[in-house]
Subunit: 402 residues, 2 copies
């Protein structure tokens, strides 16, 4: 079985290296040897295992009937989208870790794959090496799943972990993370939640079968989280995590969003620290389960990419009848402001007695420096926003309640 | 697709109920409706969904060509073994949560399944509802796996959690667990580690492809863990958990055992509490991953049983070329006494200076009431046993070091 890899950066090269490293095991499980015949990347390949494998362009790959599968590891939409679409239309299978591509174009690409009887799998697009999409779509398939939620971005989890452990502020922790290589020079997609949003959308798509447009998903990053928030959360037994979630509400609508959230320290994801990712899923049979592991890195991501490759090579991959979603617009999406939440609020110029008059059900955390911090229970989020907008209040932080 | 259920206790009935509850979803994923045609159980079935489904015996089930799959939920070896063997020999597939059966007879039953081209799957036998065996054997199949270790028994984890949280002793905590229904009237198989041992053996079998005899596996329960152990562990930042593990050592031998172990509080399994189970796996690509969820209960276990049933009904189940192990005796098994460990020791009638003379590399925890508690590093376990056997020492507790 010959495959091609488009994009020979960290993930593309890692996939090639893990394939070479575990060649015999992988061949035994796939039922045949898997060999990389082409690598497509404009950069020099000298000194890499792909030295002799350069393709002149996607055309060369798609013209070779020996190549049955493309690993797309370019990232983004643009050429990645074009190559993947062309490969699927030619009847070839595709495996990709590209969350932006899957979140934005998944419905269309899955439909092409189905029509052409090709595989299109993307385990590595959510939580990197940690098996998540496969367990959701296969191991838990006897369940009606109503929630997937997780710590989906390693950079922000590293920053929040350090803020908790060291009581430090956001800006200084970000700079330290950049110095150590855990955050990129331009960290926007991580710290603003864009990356987590794409992954939350993929979880929503997979669980509920309808395309969730990342542009329609309420997405808050961690840039406005302060040391005071972390301290107040700690005083009520909580850690702050950036949580992406996809949840079927009682009214049947789907709430998909990315926000910082308070997790009680007993919660199974509260101590998922540093660059680790975790995804919990709730089903009507299994209850809560959680998957934990590395969300990035060359070999962990390669592990997930190759897991999909083997599934396709072996035959009978899950696309048929299991993985697929359709784009039916946004009517299925819930507006978070329509539901009750619990939240941490910090309001300046008010004592707790005054805060208590605003919110019937609340618990004091502190009154200091002219500020009251409190946990507010069972308040409609739209109401909460309205009330706080008229006050000198820090951004509230919801509690994750599952 | 018609199936039969043998054993209509908590798991058998739960499987039937979850199948009825999620009938349409399951049919969509399996590709056809799955219907329970027979239930085999001597007890009254009136008032259950199986009221009209009683089989007169295994013979009636095996004489019916419509029945293609048997769910065995009787437990133990005895008749369960006979029924499963007969079903597989007749070319029918079998799904079971029966860890004793799989740990003791798995190699033989898998060989029959392979010969007859039937499925034999047992996801629910380890960690109940939590997907573990499927992720290990499929999602991580691009890896060379060298370790699986976990909190495999909910009852003992509940007891240890309470001992940590309440500083209570073993006996009183066990009685409380029995009162609350978390421990059985005869808790021997749980508290002595027998149940965890069977699960550790299944993990060893699956990872390393050779039958690991539960009778040859070093198995310690939690009956000798005291409040003093829990306190000493806490002082060095550790919780005590009952850990079952299967590990390939540097010399290529397989170390399989069940023992209480110290886990650093930062470890991903250190805060897996109450009746929850967790299994971590290490692979050369993915690094550490962990699966967390309910290890028992009717519907969680049913979720895992039905996950296997759907896989078999859908076709192309993992047995072929993926799941299987052979019985080649015990030569592959390591003796834990041949390797270095770190351990918590508590020795009466000795001060720390004297303890330090015995063990070069050690760290004091306390000297009190004529006892020294210390962490000992990098000591050969056989040596450690010999040294402590001549002293007035409490049982040492190893540190889990991955």
């Amino acid at each position: 079985m010959k495959i091609a890899i488009a994009g020979y950066g960290v993930v593309g090269r890692g996939t090639h290296e893990l394939l070479l490293m575990n060649r015999d095991k992988i061949a035994a499980r796939a039922g045949e040897e898997i060999e990389v015949k082409y690598v497509l990347d404009p950069k020099p390949l000298e000194g890499t295992p792909a030295e002799q494998l350069r393709a002149s362009g996607i055309e060369e790959i798609l013209a070779d009937p020996e190549v049955k599968l493309l690993v797309e590891a370019i990232g983004g939409v643009g050429p990645a989208y074009e190559y993947v679409k062309a490969a699927l239309e030619s009847g070839r299978s595709v495996v990709t870790p590209n969350k932006q591509l899957v979140a934005e174009k998944g419905a269309e690409l899955l439909a092409i794959a189905r029509e052409k009887n090709a595989g299109f799998l993307f385990e590595a697009s959510v939580a990197g090496g940690t098996p998540v999409l496969h367990p959701i779509s296969q191991c838990l398939w006897a369940n009606d799943l109503d929630l997937a939620a997780g710590i989906l971005n390693g950079t922000t989890n590293y920053i929040l972990t350090k803020m908790v452990q060291e009581g430090a502020g956001f800006e200084e922790t970000l700079r330290e993370a950049q110095r150590l290589g855990y955050a990129e020079a331009d960290p926007t997609a991580d710290i603003e939640g864009t990356d987590a949003c794409r992954k939350a959308c993929i979880l929503a798509d997979l669980l509920f079968g309808k395309h969730t447009d990342p542009n329609k998903v309420f997405t808050q990053g961690i840039t406005r989280i302060t040391a005071a928030d972390v301290e107040a959360a700690g005083l009520v037994g909580c850690n702050i995590k950036l949580i992406g979630q996809a949840r079927r509400m009682a009214d049947g609508k789907i709430l998909c969003m990315v926000t910082p959230a308070l997790l009680r320290k007993e919660h199974c994801m509260a101590e998922v620290n540093d660059v680790f990712n975790a995804v919990m899923v709730h089903g009507n049979g299994v209850g809560d389960v959680m998957f934990y592991g590395r969300g990035a890195g060359d070999l962990p991501t390669a592990s997930a990419v190759l897991s999909d490759v083997i599934e396709i090579v072996r035959g009978g991959c899950r696309n048929a009848g299991i993985i697929g979603w359709t784009d039916e617009g946004d009517a299925h999406l819930a507006d978070r402001r329509d539901y009750d939440i619990h939240a941490l609020v910090r309001i300046k110029g008010m004592d707790f007695a005054a805060v208590e008059k605003l919110f019937k059900d609340c618990e004091p955390i502190w009154e200091k420096d002219g500020e009251t911090a409190a946990l507010v229970y069972n308040v409609n989020e739209g109401e909460l926003e309205k009330i706080l907008s008229g006050l000198d209040a820090a951004p509230y932080i919801r509690m994750f309640d599952c």
